[in-house]
């Protein structure tokens, strides 16, 4: 017989004291690092179910790790996407370009050419390889760390740099913080500073595509930290309720600024496993394995395209650099983590794979890296002709008031006139035409 609940005794009467659990990462600055508890499984060990598989029949895939590239640098198992060498070289080239671009822009921020930058070092495969598995007109709703999608989709580097510099060439007219890109032409949704808001939006876009009987799908990217936002729950719920043709990509890079993934709930489950509760297909993937990233995204895209429903993919990776130019990770995590990270570096792993299959060599790699660095440098010089942040070559004052609404209402007309008068008083000799309005 069950013991009756003791509803009469008061707190303090012989009951054990409760204890709050506050998660703590495995290492702090100065600590040695040990990733032995991280189970990364074996490359090629995970089965690849049919794209129409029921979520409940693929539970293991939400807890394991889909890996293709092994320590021998060869591709293994059913998830090998069997890409031709030319595609692999293109993929490697995009990833190398992302890295070169990040290096240059980070330096640009330190030189005072812009206010802010965010690298994606170590996570290049999760955007480059994943987006290469989508059609170019599939709509992507990224967070701020998927510059690889723009580069893989051929967005001009100069547009990216103009935006980062907020100069007169910036097609967002200097309104947005650096790296908050937007390109409708590249089916790349406007990036917002507010975390996870893009996830229900991606679901809504996918629902719209389904309502119209279109064939395009949507994909969204969100960090593991942001999965704690309510929007992510809404996105998963709406995705499953309407069987929306959408892919929910969670980039688990272990860190949300200074908070380790335990604060998003990683201590007791995986992020892919959250899919199961919603009835979504869930895949957990080696995020530093470009082939696995590509294969998982292709699987989910095929599934969505066939009206088989949405997929949640967790990319297990590591944020190798600081959160942003405003962040110093040595204040909260061990410097050794990056070296000890068991899944290595995505660019190096793909490079070694191409070498291992006889389709690449170190000389060509070195030449490519140099080409990337030179191209970014040349484009940077070109962009600087349009100005850098704070050097006056910005958009006319009147543009500040445009596009709040489709048409300028009277109160914004009045405020625009006020701003123009103010400019003329502050800088009577500078740019006499600037800000004169349209």
């Amino acid at each position: 017989m069950a013991e009756a609940a003791d509803t009469n005794s008061k707190s303090g009467d012989n009951r054990p004291a409760l204890a709050l659990h506050v998660p703590e990462p495995r290492s702090r600055p100065g600590d040695p690092v040990n990733f032995n508890d991280v189970d990364i499984g074996e490359p090629g060990a995970q089965p690849r179910p049919d794209e129409s598989a029921k979520p409940e029949d693929m539970k293991d895939l939400a807890y394991g790790l889909v890996r293709v590239l092994g320590d021998d640098d060869k591709a293994h198992g059913p998830w090998d996407p069997k890409l031709d060498p030319e595609t692999l070289r293109t993929m490697l080239g995009h990833m190398a370009m992302v890295r070169a671009f990040d290096e240059r822009m980070f330096r640009g921020q330190r030189q005072g050419k812009t206010s802010f930058y965010m690298k994606c070092t170590g996570e290049e495969a999760t955007s480059v390889a994943a987006s290469m598995a989508l059609a170019s007109d599939d709509m992507v709703f990224p967070s701020y760390r998927q510059q690889g999608i723009l580069i893989a989709r051929g967005y001009p580097l100069i547009e990216m740099i103009n935006q980062i510099y907020s100069n007169k060439g910036d097609k967002l007219k200097g309104r947005q913080l650096p790296i908050m890109y937007s390109s409708r032409e590249h089916s790349f949704f406007s990036i917002s500073g507010n975390l996870a808001t893009q996830t229900p939006q991606a679901v809504g876009w996918a629902m719209a595509s389904a309502i119209k009987g279109d064939s395009r799908i949507a994909a969204t990217w969100v960090g593991e930290g942001s999965t704690a936002e309510g929007d992510f729950h809404s996105a998963c719920t709406f995705a499953t309720v309407y069987n929306a043709p959408v892919i929910l990509n969670v980039i688990n890079n272990q860190w949300a600024i200074s908070s380790f993934s335990g604060f998003a709930g990683s201590e007791r489950t995986t992020f892919a496993a959250r899919a199961l509760g919603y009835g979504l297909a869930g895949l957990r993937v080696d995020g530093n394995d470009a082939l696995a990233c590509y294969a998982a995204q292709r699987w989910a895209a095929n599934r969505a395209r066939a009206n088989q429903g949405p997929t949640l993919i967790e990319y297990f990776t590591y944020r190798a650099e600081g959160h942003s130019t405003s962040d110093d990770p040595s204040g909260y995590r061990s410097a050794q983590e990056r070296e000890e990270w068991p899944l290595g570096d995505p660019v190096m792993r793909l490079k070694k794979h191409l070498i291992a299959i006889g389709e690449w060599d170190e000389d060509r790699q070195a030449a490519m890296d140099q080409r990337c660095a030179e191209e970014v440098k040349a484009v940077t010089k070109e962009a600087e002709k349009n100005g850098i942040l704070g050097h006056g070559l910005h958009h006319p004052f009147h543009t500040m008031f445009e596009d709040v609404f489709e048409e300028l209402p009277w109160h914004l007309e009045e405020q625009a006139a006020q701003a123009t008068r103010e400019r003329e008083t502050k800088w009577p000799d500078k740019h006499p035409k600037d800000g004169a309005g349209k």
């Binding site: 709703f141 947005q176 937007s182 809504g204 209402p409 109160h411």
Partner: protein, 353 residues
């Protein structure tokens, strides 16, 4: 009256006598827009099969199909969030939030996303959505079925806020909102869904069928956003109001024999500043009436604008009659509601010299 002439006139014989209530008018506007534009989508909690808890979407799913009019999970963040995504695709979603009191979980999507999308993407993406939501008190709705949160939205750059006070306006304004390419908050004063409310809660309520503003043309017509409606012309003072309070103010002025010029603002953003200035400069006195709480309410903005722009024409301080700065109470509803006694006092104060 100037604004009235800008509306499309009903076609002569077919509609002059037809009177419907505000619910029917809203239903007609949605029906017409679903018919005219394949990109219009109506969604929200209970709006599909059931037809909405206030019947505003009754029959629409059956007529237009489940992919045009559908029920959603109980998630205001999700409803607004997916609507933003649908707008980015090219649809024209009309999401419903069941009560304005429950719009707050969707605020981040409205304020950070819908309102700013055009601006932050330099017109690459827009959010041409109309969020419909019943608002306002006077129905014993207590704390969470009575609120008037319009000033939260009027404070956000990039949002338009529209509030009808008659069936005729509800239909014409809603059609304009749906066709507008900016995100619009369309607050429906649920106290006057079925009939105008005088504020004299102890008197029987007159149904819309007996009111001239319930003459609603069949078919498509628009009332432009940003244009106030002159409810009554007068010389003694200008009353600036909207929603349920239009009818309360009108009843009190009639009761007291005050020659008031009552402006139903209809759109709070963008505001019809010309109509306001013209009227206040003529009358020299101004009373502002709204149900929402006082501090930082929209009345404060109206008062500031009138003071800034009509200062030398004013013969008395601008008065505000508003809800008190408390949560909306249940049992003390008629002590809270800015009804005839408080409006009467304010009229006396403004007109005393």
């Amino acid at each position: 009256m100037n604004a009235q002439t800008e509306t499309t006139k009903p076609q002569a014989d077919e509609t002059e006598e037809r009177r419907i209530n505000m619910i029917e008018a809203i239903n007609e506007a949605l029906d017409i827009m679903l018919e005219r534009d394949d990109d219009v989508i109506v969604m929200g909690e209970d709006v599909g099969y059931f037809g909405g808890v206030f019947r505003c979407t009754a029959g629409l799913q059956e007529k237009h199909g489940k992919t045009r009019v559908f029920d959603t999970p109980i998630s205001e963040c999700g409803i607004i969030g997916v609507a933003v995504g649908m707008g980015a695709y090219g649809l024209r979603p009309v999401p419903e939030i069941q009560f304005a009191d429950y719009i707050y979980p969707g605020l981040d999507q409205l304020i950070s996303e819908a309102a700013r999308l055009r601006y932050r993407s330099a017109t690459e993406y827009i959010a041409p959505m109309t969020v419909r939501s019943p608002f306002g008190g006077g129905i014993f709705g207590g704390q969470t079925h009575s609120q008037s949160p319009e000033s939260i939205f009027t404070h956000v750059a990039g949002l338009k806020t529209v509030i009808p006070a008659t069936p005729h306006d509800a239909k014409g304004l809603l059609i304009s909102c749906i066709e507008d390419n900016d995100p619009v908050i369309f607050f429906e004063p649920k106290r006057i869904y079925n009939g105008p409310f005088s504020g004299y809660y102890d008197k029987p309520v007159e149904p819309w069928k007996k009111h001239k503003d319930a003459a609603v043309p069949e078919g498509y017509y628009k009332i432009p956003l940003g244009k106030a409606r002159t409810v009554t012309e007068g010389e003694a003072l200008t009353v600036l109001t909207y929603g349920t309070m239009v009818h309360v103010a009108e009843a009190v002025c009639r009761e007291k024999g005050v020659d008031a010029e009552i402006l139903d603002l209809r759109t709070l953003v963008p505001l019809d500043i010309e109509a306001i200035e013209e009227s206040v400069k003529k009358t020299g006195r101004c009373l502002i009436v709204h149900e929402a709480t006082r501090t930082s309410g929209f009345g404060a903005e109206l008062s500031a604008l009138v003071t800034e722009r009509c200062f030398y024409h004013l013969e008395a301080p601008v008065e505000r009659v508003t809800g008190f700065d408390t949560p909306y109470p249940h049992s003390l509803e008629w002590a809270y509601f800015p009804g005839p006694v408080r409006i009467g006092e304010a009229l006396d104060t403004i007109l005393k010299d």
